[in-house]
Point group: C2
Chain length 176, copies 2
DNA sequence: GGCCGCATGTAATCTGTTACATGATTCT
DNA sequence: AGAATCATGTAACAGATTACATGCGGCC
């Protein structure tokens, strides 16, 4: 059986938690200008490609629904394996700072849907991860010789500190 | 004639400003652990590919230098067009926040080599660009309905503010 | 008649990264 | 003898994005 390393594609499973949907309908929800649309824009063609990959690894199954005077739809159902993969994905921190901009914000969107507990888990995990980055950078600042190296590390420190501040902010907004 | 939109590949032209070099030697300078090596890691094969593209658009010309008991070297010379392209690139701000991490830091490295004036030009340009992003985000925060939207925009604001603070910091370190 | 909405996809392209191929010399 | 250095590249693969292909029905 094929496998698929966790990517942002896993997010699509979140749309199928409540009820099966077809690709076009997922795209409409995705494009909501006050929801995920602000963060994640993807074309229909790209969406279909991602759904195809999720089917290959058996996280979803498909069923064709015929319609009169409309093209047939392909309904995507979440499998047990898919549910588990989603549960892992939505709680786990991202592995690199550059993934906060997109993947983490998408995680947060779905984590909030899953409830306060899950959202707080996600935030705590990511906070721990950011702390690790911070320590690693601080260690490098010490040893880094040269003015350029100091500038580089100060940049990274600033970005990570802003992330941490924001994560704390989120915990305040979401938590009790 | 082929063209090439400004990318980080332009940075390689900066190595050829003083004297012509061959690919292997460029790679050694690039890998300096207290210089660019902290920011930009690229494999030799990737470097040769980039140099090939710069040759296609006539920013560099090549000359083969034979050696006894060593493989022949391909020396890259900077052309007038290449010099101009580099001068534009090294002063110009990056067009997206995610390019600060890599491309902007590389620009800064070469801008400092070009002298204080160029470095300060680069910082000023990027600062103006960041201010635009900030204003745009602040406008969106006003109109954004929904808690999720507010969280998203606060994240982006935080990142941009950290960039601005760092740019100011750099101006202080580099400027008189 | 022409454009928009519904509904699905394939193909091409671009960028970035990794793996592989070659071959002489010098160092341990 | 084996590893590292010098020196160049091609090929393959992964990911994201864009462009293109198809076809019906309803609205203006």
């Amino acid at each position: 059986m094929k496998t698929l390393s966790p990517t942002i594609g896993y997010a699509l499973l979140g749309f199928l938690r409540q009820r099966p949907l077809h690709g076009y309908a997922i795209h409409q929800q995705l494009s909501d200008p006050v929801g995920l649309g602000q963060v994640w824009q993807l074309k229909l063609s790209q969406l279909y490609a991602l759904l195809g990959k999720l089917e290959e690894v058996d996280y979803v199954t498909t069923e064709v629904e015929m319609q009169t005077s409309r093209p047939p739809r392909k309904l995507f159902h979440l499998t047990a394996a898919g549910e588990e993969a989603f549960a892992m994905w939505v709680r786990g921190s991202v592995t690199h700072g550059r993934h906060l901009r997109l993947e983490f914000l998408v995680k947060l969107y779905f984590a909030r849907q899953e409830g306060t507990t899950v959202a707080l888990q996600l935030l705590a995990n990511q906070r721990a991860q950011c702390q690790l980055w911070l320590s690693a950078e601080q260690a490098k600042v010490e040893e880094s010789a040269g003015e350029y190296g100091r500038l580089v590390h100060r940049f990274r420190l600033g970005q990570i500190q802003a992330m941490l501040a924001w994560l704390d902010d989120c915990q305040g907004v979401i938590g009790v």
